[in-house]
Every structure is written in C-alpha cells, then in structure tokens.
C-alpha cells in the first residue's frame, strides 16, 4: 500500500472522528437534560406549583438551544458514508438502510411533532398533554439513538447477515439478531445512561454557579436535588451496563480489551489496572520491554469481569497475535485461537475465492463458481484479514485506548461520588455553604463531556483497524478520493462545527446569566 492511500485513510478517519465527536457534544445533552426536564415538569404537573413550571421553562430553554444547534449535525456523518466510505456503504447498505431509515422517520415525526407542543404548547394545551409531549420528545430522541447505535453495534459484532457476492452486499438475514444483539443492547443502554450523567452534570454545574453567585436559590436547590438523583441513577446504571459492555468486548473484541488494559501477556487470574503509566519505549508487542512504568492492579478482577471467573485466562496482545490458546467460539465450542498469520491466510483465501467466483460466473462456469463461493463463505469470518498489509496493523493504538478507557472509568466513579454527595447535602439542605463542592460541581460540566467522548474513543479507536469487525478494515472501506479534497472538507467541518459550538456556548451562557423568566 502506498503512502498516498495511507494518508487518504488517515484523513478520512480524522474527518469522520472530528464530525462524530462534534456531533456527540450535542446528543448526550439532549438525552440527559431531556430526562431532567421531564422530571421537573412531572413535579409541576403533580403539585401545580408555578415555581416548578418556572424551573422547567428555564432548563427547557437551554435544552432548546442545544437541540437547535445540534440538530442535523449527524447528517454530515451520512454524507461522509456516501462520499468518503463508499466501499463500506455499498458493502453494508442493506444492514444500515433499515435502522437509519427508521431513525430518520422517528426523529422527524416524533421529535418534530412533540417538540413543537413542548415549546409552543404552554397555556395552549392541557398540563397533561404538555407533559406527555415533553416525555414523548425525550422518548423519541432516545429511540432515535437506538437505531444508530444498533448500526454501530453491528459494526462491532456483525451478526444476522449473509454476504451476497453477486450484489457485493451484506444482506440482512435476521432483523432481530441485528436489533437484539447483546452488543447492541449493552451499547444502547450504556450510551443512554451515560448521557443522563452529562445532562445531570450540566444541570448540577449551572445550579452550583447560581449558588456561587448567590442567585436563584430555589431553582438551584431544586435542580441540584433532581440532577443529583437522576445523575446518580445514570452513573450507577452506566457502571452496570459498562460491565456488560466490557464482557461483550472480552467475548467479541479481545484485542480491544487487551488495549484497554495495556495487557500484552495474557494470564489466568488477570488483574484490572486501577492506575497505570504506559512505557513509551515499548514499540512492538513482542519486544521484551515492560509495557508499564507504573501500575497498580486489582488482582483477578479483569478475569472476573471478562469471563465471570476469577481464574479465567485473559489473552493479551501477544497471545492474540500468536494464537494457540483455548477460547470459546461464537457457537459455544472450545477452540484453539488462530494466529494473526493464520487469520490473514484465511482472509486471503476468502478474497481470492471471491475474485475467482466473479471470474467463473462471468465465464458462465456455474459449477466452478459454486465451488469458489463455498470456499469464500467458509472463510468469510476472516474476510477482512485478507486486506491487512502487516500483522502489526491488527493492534489498535494502545496508549490512546488505555488512557481514554481509564479516564472514562475514573470520571464515571467521580460522578457517582459527586452526585451522591450533592444529593445528600441538598436533601439535608446543607449545600448552600459548601463553596468548594459548588466549584467542583461547576468543574464537572467539561469533565462530563470528556468522560463521554472518552467512551467513544475507546469504542471506536479500540476496534481499529476494523470498520466492520474482522470483515472489513478501514483501508478497504475508503473511497478512492483525492486526499486534498478530504483535507479541504476536514477544514470546512472544523470551521463549521467550531462556529456552531461557539454560538451554542455563547447563547447558553447569555441565557444562564439572564436566569429564569417569570412564569408565563
């Protein structure tokens, strides 16, 4: 593979990462703050106290700003699929088509209808109808997220499809296997619950700012209590679903797990790295350099989290490259793991069989075509390995995955403790004088986004080089474009999204400084 195609892949990846990460600045706030607004309005509906309405309308205004700035930013990702990742788009079009179409219809009809009632409907529809519209907006946004996460989960764990060499497409064979795959279920709930943390951290931080400024005492205290309870619930459920996600990663993407933990040499009773500093001198998986400069481990926990057995063997990067260890396959049988070379050989056979099938088919030799097709199908689970130039390319960037994973987990624990503390002190009406905690809560706003984005970096960088796990690497998925044109669009997006972000932050800060308006 020449240098120009490498730079094309790198640029295309950078562009997709940039747009996805910017898009993700808006989404978790919509999902998380939406839930808080629903709870606040439910209190208004139950009590009839206009103070709850005033509080709801204040947060709803901030929700509206975020929604307006963020809406449709995800469509750019779909542009990129068609332009920059055309091989991939064609290859998976049938799988992606259904979830994305459902997502589009739901997003348009549910959110667009109910969000109008939510913003325009005060005093025009009954309290009950308005409350229902608010909750349906939140529900609609959450269900929209389901479909895109199902599509993403399928890329991490392709299932429920068959590859048709005539159309060159993976065709959906089992919709329910795609929708209800354990990876999709865990990913959906983990993502939604973690978004509750982001929305709650924002609500908590802004309310703490009001307390620091000795303003809006009632709004701040009521909001802090609701955000703390909702945020704690979100953080707790995120931890549980995070455990489920890590278990799925151990079964389906062991290389990602090894990178998350900086685990080069597998072992039985493997410990979980609670804190670690990687050794930058480590260059290859099989050199003798210790991967850690410093490491504090919790014994046996990684084995338990990965296989529900404290003595289970967790393969490291070296084991996954060299194979030879016992593993449980997708159909539940115990097999010996293949080495990277063996997988690349099988992938090579699959791709060559595909080419031979195409040739035999064009020559009208059906029996030969059938034989090649059978060979291709037998080796299809390793199809993507046929495109991998060097076996070292099968290892994701370990430092980035390791550090973002540990940042995510550490911040997750931080928010669990923060929400517990603020909730308790707020309940006891002792938060007003805790200025240090108010400052920490304010600092929690950017930390929540760092935590959330780190989670996506783990998920997406950790599965490199795969765009579809084991089936298609990024360099086979990319369109044959001029790298300069990708660079131009990268810069355009960077400018556009930065302007949008500055606009959002500016408008939100102005509205926060202005504070809530009188009830209308």
């Amino acid at each position: 593979m020449d240098t120009s195609s490498l730079s094309l892949v790198d640029l295309s990846r950078a562009q997709f990462a940039l747009t996805a990460m910017y898009h993700w600045l808006f989404v978790p706030m919509t999902l998380g703050l939406g839930g808080i607004i629903g709870i606040l309005e439910t209190f208004y509906y139950k009590t009839g106290n206009p103070e709850w309405k005033r509080i709801t309308q204040f947060w709803m205004k901030l929700f509206g700003i975020n929604f307006a700035i963020g809406v449709a930013t995800g469509i750019i990702l779909e542009f990129e699929f068609g332009t920059n990742w055309s091989n991939y788009s064609w290859f998976v079009g049938d799988i992606f088509g259904a979830p994305l179409a459902i997502e589009g219809i739901l997003a348009f009809f549910m959110e667009a209808t109910f969000i109008a009632i939510m913003f325009f409907g005060w005093n025009k529809v009954s309290k009950g109808v308005h409350l229902m519209a608010t909750w349906l907006t939140v529900f609609g946004a959450t269900i929209s997220a389901l479909w895109i996460l199902v599509a993403n989960a399928w890329m991490q764990f392709p299932d429920g499809m068959t590859f048709n060499p005539d159309t060159m497409r993976n065709e959906m064979a089992d919709f329910w296997a795609v929708l209800l795959s354990p990876v999709a279920i865990n990913k959906f709930f983990h993502t939604v619950f973690s978004s509750w943390i982001v929305g709650s951290a924002f609500c908590l931080g802004v309310s703490a700012w009001f307390l620091l400024k000795k303003r809006e005492h009632s709004l701040a205290n009521k909001s802090i209590l609701i955000a703390s309870v909702f945020g704690f619930l979100g953080a707790f459920l995120t931890a549980i679903t995070g455990d489920g996600s890590a278990y799925q990663v151990a079964q389906r993407q062991p290389m990602k797990l090894a990178a998350m933990e900086g685990l080069y040499q597998g072992k039985e009773g493997a410990g979980l790295v609670a804190f670690g500093v990687l050794n930058p001198a480590k260059e290859t998986y099989n050199d003798s350099i210790n991967p850690f400069l410093l490491k504090i481990e919790i014994p046996k926990v990684l084995s338990y989290l990965s296989y529900r057995d404290i003595d289970a063997f967790v393969p490291g990067i070296t084991d996954l490259m060299e194979g030879g260890f016992e593993q449980v396959s997708r159909d539940g049988c115990t097999t010996t793991a293949l080495s990277a070379e063996e997988k690349m050989r099988l992938g090579d056979k699959a791709v060559q069989a595909l080419a031979a099938y195409k040739t035999a088919k064009s020559e009208g030799n059906d029996s030969l075509a059938s034989a090649h097709r059978a060979e291709m199908e037998a080796n299809y689970p390793w199809f993507g390995y046929g495109f991998v130039p060097e076996k070292a390319d099968l290892i994701p960037p370990v430092p980035l995955v390791f550090y973002t994973f540990h940042i995510m987990v550490t911040l997750g624990m931080f928010f669990l403790a923060l929400f517990l503390l603020t909730g308790w002190l707020s309940w006891k009406k002792k938060l007003d004088n805790q200025r240090w905690l108010q400052w920490i809560a304010l600092l929690g706003i950017p930390l929540a986004w760092i935590c959330s984005e780190s989670g996506w970096i783990v998920a997406e960088v950790g599965r490199q080089p795969w765009v579809i796990q084991d089936i298609m690497p990024t360099y086979a998925a990319v369109s044959a474009l001029n790298p300069t044109s990708v660079l131009v669009t990268f810069i355009l997006f960077a400018v556009l999204f930065t302007v949008l972000l500055i606009a959002e932050i500016g408008i939100i800060l102005k509205q926060i400084r202005k504070g809530p308006e009188d009830v209308h």
């Binding site: 205004k61 509206g64 290859f91 025009k124 195409k358 130039p389 086979a476 556009l496 408008i507």
Partner: protein, 72 residues
C-alpha cells in the same frame, strides 16, 4: 375552527411569539443551507451514484476495488 386551522394557528402563533427561538431558527436554517446547498452539492456527492448508473455497475466497481486492495 377545523382541526387543520387549529393546528395551523398553533404553529403560527408559536412561531410569531418566539423571542430567542427566532435566533435559533436562523441558526438552524443557515446551518441546513450550508449543509445541503453547499457541502452536500459541492463537497459530498455520493461517490458511487456520481460515477455509475446501475446497481450492477456499482457492485462490479466495489468488487474490483476490494479484490485490488487485497495484500499481494
């Protein structure tokens, strides 16, 4: 008033009475214009649709791309 008239009036009054919402709608419309009328048209044509007419041609191209990209 018919249901359609009531729905129209609901939206009409909602949009008319917006304050901050007018700024937000301006941002949304500018953003959508940039995305669909500039970016999509000039920078993000569908790679396969802009080069091939039929699905068969697209499949043949992707097949060729994938088998060519294979490591020798």
């Amino acid at each position: 008033m018919t249901v359609i008239q009531r729905v129209f009036r609901f939206y009409y009054e909602g949009f008319r009475n917006m304050t901050l919402g007018k700024t937000l709608w301006a941002i949304i419309l500018i953003k959508l214009f940039i995305m669909f009328a500039i970016l999509k048209v000039f920078f993000f044509p569908n790679f396969l649709n802009s080069r091939f007419e039929s699905d068969e041609e697209k499949a043949a191209y992707v097949s060729e791309q994938l088998t060519e990209k294979q490591t020798p």
